[in-house]
């Protein structure tokens, strides 16, 4: 009863571990059986290995955290060679989160992933922690349109475009991605944010800015998911500050087909299981047979 379908792929439940908070699942599988998840979005992958950012990478804000990891990852080939075979042992849907600095980088990445055993590509056009242009794709709808259409020309896997809440206009952005052929949309990535060390009189992060996530962003993320779900007719995967099953239901009612959970994994490592169980109990008590009965049922003005 919890199952949902995303671009023809069946998820056993609508809860997906969000990119960058869950590695490739291996570590969390030492804590709970990650095969119980609807899916896992991998750490953001880039064509070549990246060492990530220097300096402090995490900082706790009010009801949220700021991170500046800078896409540290082993590179796509290494992922396919060593991480993917381990991930395939989990009985869950694998979303390869793909980041990039240039269109060419994205395209080479897609080519490599085309022939791999992943289920879907989450195209990250929105990472705020990479200086080399990563952000620009997620800000301007026209640039996003270019990347997504070029990617779609060669992609053999379904493409879910992950939007940045820092986009100039999130609705326009989602419409352009949809027009460019995106198979699904996920949102939101982290909000561009900042913190200052008043004793050192310097920004806390070497890159000055960092990405804010967690409960602090939930109301805004929810609003964006609501607006985007109403603007496009492709599936939307919602995230941003989800820590309870009630949060997850809110996102689904706002229009999300499925949800992702990121920061909350740091609060309680098996929180995704609590969320899955909570959704199930809610469905039983509200006599809901399938989540499609409540999906996108909220209609405001």
């Amino acid at each position: 009863m919890l199952n949902v379908s995303l671009c023809g792929i069946e998820l056993k439940n609508p809860v997906i571990a969000a990119s960058g908070t869950f590695g490739f699942g291996e570590e969390y599988n030492n804590v709970f059986d990650v095969s119980k998840l609807g899916g896992i979005a991998t750490k953001g992958l880039t064509l070549n290995k990246r060492e990530g950012n220097d300096g402090l990478r995490i900082y706790e804000a009010e009801s949220g955290i700021m991170n500046s990891v800078g896409l540290q990852n082993p590179g796509i080939e290494e992922f396919i060679k060593t991480e993917l075979p381990k991930m395939k042992k989990f009985n869950t849907v694998i979303f390869a989160n793909l980041g990039g600095g240039t269109i060419e980088e994205y395209l080479s990445g897609i080519e490599k992933l085309n022939n791999s055993d992943i289920d879907m590509i989450e195209l990250n056009i929105s990472c705020p922690n990479v200086k080399a242009g990563g952000m620009a794709f997620g800000i301007k709808s026209n640039i996003a349109y270019d990347v997504v259409s070029r990617v779609k020309e060669i992609a053999k896997k379904p493409i879910m475009v992950k939007l940045s809440p820092n986009a100039e206009n999130i609705v326009d952005m989602s419409e352009k991605c949809c027009k460019a052929g995106a198979d699904a949309i996920s949102l939101v990535n982290t909000f561009k944010a900042m913190a200052i060390d008043i004793y050192k009189r310097k920004p806390v992060f070497n890159n000055t800015f960092a990405g804010l996530s967690g409960p602090a962003i939930k109301p805004i993320a929810l609003r964006m998911v609501y607006e985007v779900s109403r603007a496009v007719d492709i599936p939307v995967v919602g995230m941003g500050g989800i820590t309870t099953w009630q949060d997850a239901i809110e996102f689904i009612m706002a229009g999300a087909e499925a949800v992702q959970v990121g920061t909350a994994n740091f609060i309680k490592p098996d929180i995704c299981l609590d969320i899955i169980d909570g959704i199930k109990s809610f469905m039983v008590s509200e006599n809901i047979k399938n989540l499609s009965e409540i999906k996108g049922t909220i209609r405001g003005v």
Binding site: G20, T21, F22, G23, E26, E27, Y28, N30, V31, F32, K43, E51, G52, L56, R57, I58, Y59, E60, S63, G64, I65, N67, V69, Q72, G214, P215, T263, N265, F266, I267, K268, P269, D270
Partner: protein, 245 residues
């Protein structure tokens, strides 16, 4: 299932020196010396757990020694006996305590916390303790039975040598050095030991989120590239971190 996330009862939580608390919980995981737990003693006030080293394990009880620094440790210090604290661990690779010969344990401030359990586990070694403090000295008396000699330095000269512990440490005497404290102190020790080819193991600190190696916020540069302090550490070869990284 390697690590456990659970709620356990606090047996005691008391100030043992100015701003230094000892927390004892009911938990019998048998953590290894140098390992740590992510502790959470709050609901919604804070999100992340705080990494705190195992101070001792005995008779079904695990203890921690911590200094109040910011919000999290402040809240920890207010928790009372009977409160059910959330613990996640034990995490990381600790110190190898299966060693013989002369071992120096060098600490700065609260860096002495993991060394109580570590020293107790170094059963076949002859141990000298070099402990530096800002002002107040703690824990040294409790360790007397397990060590050969102790050397103390305080910044203000209140007890022992006035100045830094690195002023009075003599690297040539030891087969092995185990070190935990501020990075500048640990780096100095590693440099002092290099000339004598004395191996040094250091326990590194980084801000953490997942605690299990998944999120990559705790990386430390080493000779072999980026390592995760929570999973690949927190104990590393000092040379790999401070000299060859």
């Amino acid at each position: 299932m390697q690590y456990k996330y659970e709620r356990v009862k606090i047996q005691s939580n008391a100030e043992v020196a100015n701003n230094i608390y000892k927390l004892v919980i009911e938990c019998n995981h048998e953590a290894k010396p140098g390992q740590f737990y992510m502790l959470r003693g709050w609901d919604n006030e804070l999100l992340l757990g705080r990494p705190i080293s195992v101070h001792d394990v005995q008779d079904g009880l695990t203890s921690f020694l911590y200094e109040v620094r910011g919000k999290g440790t402040k809240i920890l210090s207010t928790l009372e006996t009977g409160y059910r604290i959330e613990i996640f661990g034990p995490h990381g690779k600790g110190f190898n305590t299966n060693v013989k010969g002369k071992v120096a344990v060098v600490t700065g401030g609260i860096g002495i916390a993991p060394m109580y359990y570590t020293i107790k586990a170094l059963k076949n070694a002859q141990i000298d303790l070099f402990a530096g403090f800002r002002d107040e000295v703690y824990l040294i008396d409790d360790l007397k039975d397990f060590i050969s000699s102790s050397y103390v330095a305080t910044n203000n000269g209140r007890i022992g040598h006035k100045g830094f512990i690195t002023d009075i440490f003599n690297p040539w005497e030891y087969n092995l050095v185990l070190c935990c404290g501020p990075e500048i102190m640990m780096e100095k020790i590693v440099r002092m030991c290099r000339d004598y080819k004395t191996p040094v193991y250091v326990s590194m600190e980084r801000h953490m989120a997942c605690g299990i190696g998944a999120c990559l916020v705790c990386t430390c540069k080493t000779k072999d590239g980026n390592k995760r302090v929570c999973k690949d550490g927190p104990v590393f070869s000092g040379e790999d971190v401070f000299l060859d990284a």
